[in-house]
């Protein structure tokens, strides 16, 4: 479990990135963190693994304050896949790249071998296992970073903008992986601007704006708050805006698609 207790963080240049954030993420939850650029989403994640320490307030992971432990120890529990895969790939081969973290965490060689094979198979990267990770496509690199994290089986997985550079098929597969992780009891935190990707998972949604949590609740409830979403520059899912509009229309159990389109303002009435 992760607890943020009135956490504020001020960068060296004086910019306040987090402002009194109080948030609890329980075990096994699936949470989507959304908000405009610079809202403090990535800063929040960096506090989870102790990469950043709060200027004030407390961050507790399983009851232990992040200031009292190391990033390496916290990372064993919380696996973070950062936005840009090019910031972590360096090994000679895809296989070695996957084994890197496992060796850092002190897994025995036979377990390393076993987990690498499992990860490569799960993310369809087997045929590249001897290739350099640097020659993979953007989507493949992204999958590799996720495979690297899942290989050490952390309790919690944090994905920072996982859909960037992924085609629709890969997005579907990624959504499937997230569902699989959730059903296996893992805590999954997804930071994304891709609201259409988050919506089908029906996660708990945390909306951030200017370093503050402005809304926190289950997706169906949060996504109906159009004004809050707009203030945080988050688009309402197409499906939600459509049904929200239908719901508000008095006595309209059946709607002709053309009439609905006119009524939603897509087409002008003739």
């Amino acid at each position: 479990m992760i607890e943020f207790r009135d956490v504020s963080f001020v960068h060296q240049n004086g910019v306040k990135a987090l402002d009194g954030v109080s948030l609890t993420i329980g075990d096994g939850e699936t949470v989507g963190i959304v908000g405009e650029n610079g809202a403090g989403k990535t800063t929040l994640v960096k506090h989870m693994t102790g990469l950043l320490k709060p200027s004030s307030g407390k961050v507790l992971v399983d009851g232990v304050e992040t200031t009292a432990t190391s990033t390496a120890q916290l990372s064993r529990k919380i696996g973070v896949a950062f936005q840009n895969p090019d910031h972590q790939l360096f090994s000679e081969s895809v296989k070695e790249e996957m084994a890197f973290a496992l060796r850092n965490f002190g897994f025995p060689p036979e377990v390393v071998e076993q987990r690498v094979s499992w990860g490569l198979e799960l993310f369809e990267l087997e045929r590249y296992k001897e290739s350099s990770p640097l020659v993979l496509s953007g989507g493949e690199k992204k999958r590799l970073t996720l495979a690297c994290i899942l290989a050490w089986d952390p309790q919690m997985v944090v994905l920072d903008e996982p859909t960037v550079g992924q085609d629709s098929i890969q997005k579907e597969k990624l959504a499937g992986t997230i569902k699989m992780l959730s059903s296996s009891g893992k805590t999954v935190v997804v930071i994304s601007h891709d609201i259409e990707f988050l919506w089908p998972m029906q996660p708990r949604v945390v909306i951030m704006k200017s370093g503050r949590v402005i809304m926190d609740g289950q997706a169906p409830q949060v996504m109906l708050e159009k004004e809050v979403l707009e203030s945080a520059r988050v688009a309402q899912p197409e499906m939600v805006s459509f049904y929200a509009a239908i719901r508000d229309r008095p006595r309209a159990p059946f709607v002709d698609p053309l009439e609905a389109a006119r009524w939603l303002g897509v087409m002008k009435p003739r």
Binding site: T49, S75, F90
Partner: protein, 248 residues
């Protein structure tokens, strides 16, 4: 890397010194640099450093310069030890170690108060080839980007259990490999992309392009340059003919 960022990356400022013609700022830094080389005793170097700190105060960058000085101490200690091993003279070793600090500060003063655009204009004044100017200025512009990259790469690798601060020096150096490889690869990729972007925006299509900004020295700039030259002449003269009599 951090001291490089703090000591050499331009940040917009409103001081009188920031507004001086960049060529005059270059002249001041060159004169300070030369005076550093002319100083043969520690007290002479102390005078030059005092001049530099005075300039830093006028430019309102004293804190940054101070931080740069502190961060150069590691290298100064190495210089001091190496010199002491070979010369067995405390004074000479201290002079060389302090000279290094002064040289870094004199160059730092120019770079932290001169924007990349101004730097480009200064280099053009010397009729340097356009490609050389472009490459140099772009490299300067990319220092903050590379700094950000370094931090993000370090964060990503730490999140995979890499402990950069653990172990002896050799292990720490080896631990930097997962940081340096992505940094170099990203820089090479970025330079390729930049080259393509520049070409697609007609870089090099005009053999002698004109410049939007033309620097013309004002009377104030001329006055500052003249004062700097006079001060340099007086200091150099005193080093060789006056101070030696006072501090034999």
């Amino acid at each position: 890397m951090m001291w490089l960022s703090g000591g050499f990356v331009f940040r917009r400022g409103t001081s009188v010194y920031h507004k001086i013609d960049p060529r005059v700022k270059l002249l001041i830094s060159v004169l300070l640099f030369t005076t550093t080389l002319l100083a043969r005793y520690l007290y002479e170097l102390a005078i030059v450093l005092a001049f530099m700190l005075a300039v830093a105060t006028i430019a309102k960058v004293l804190r940054r310069v101070g931080r740069t000085m502190l961060l150069t101490v590691t290298f100064s200690v190495i210089i001091f030890v190496l010199n002491f091993v070979f010369t067995r003279s405390l004074e000479t070793s201290a002079l060389y170690a302090s000279r290094f600090v002064a040289i870094v500060v004199s160059t730092s003063l120019f770079f932290i108060t001169t924007s990349p655009d101004e730097l480009e204009q200064v280099m053009k004044t010397f009729r340097l080839p356009r490609d050389v100017v472009f490459a140099f200025v772009t490299a300067v512009r990319f220092i903050p980007v590379m700094m950000l990259d370094t931090i993000q790469i370090m964060d990503a690798q730490k999140s995979r259990g890499l402990e950069l601060e653990k172990g002896n020096i050799l292990r720490r150096v080896r631990n930097m490999i997962p940081v340096l490889i992505p940094l170099v690869v990203n820089s090479v990729v970025r330079s390729g992309e930049l080259a393509e972007a520049m070409e697609s925006r007609a870089y090099g299509a005009v053999p002698k392009p004109t410049s939007l900004v033309q620097y013309r020295a004002r009377n104030w700039d001329r006055l500052v340059a003249a004062v700097a030259v006079v001060l340099f002449a007086v200091t150099a003269y005193s080093f060789y003919f006056v101070l030696q009599g006072i501090f034999p």
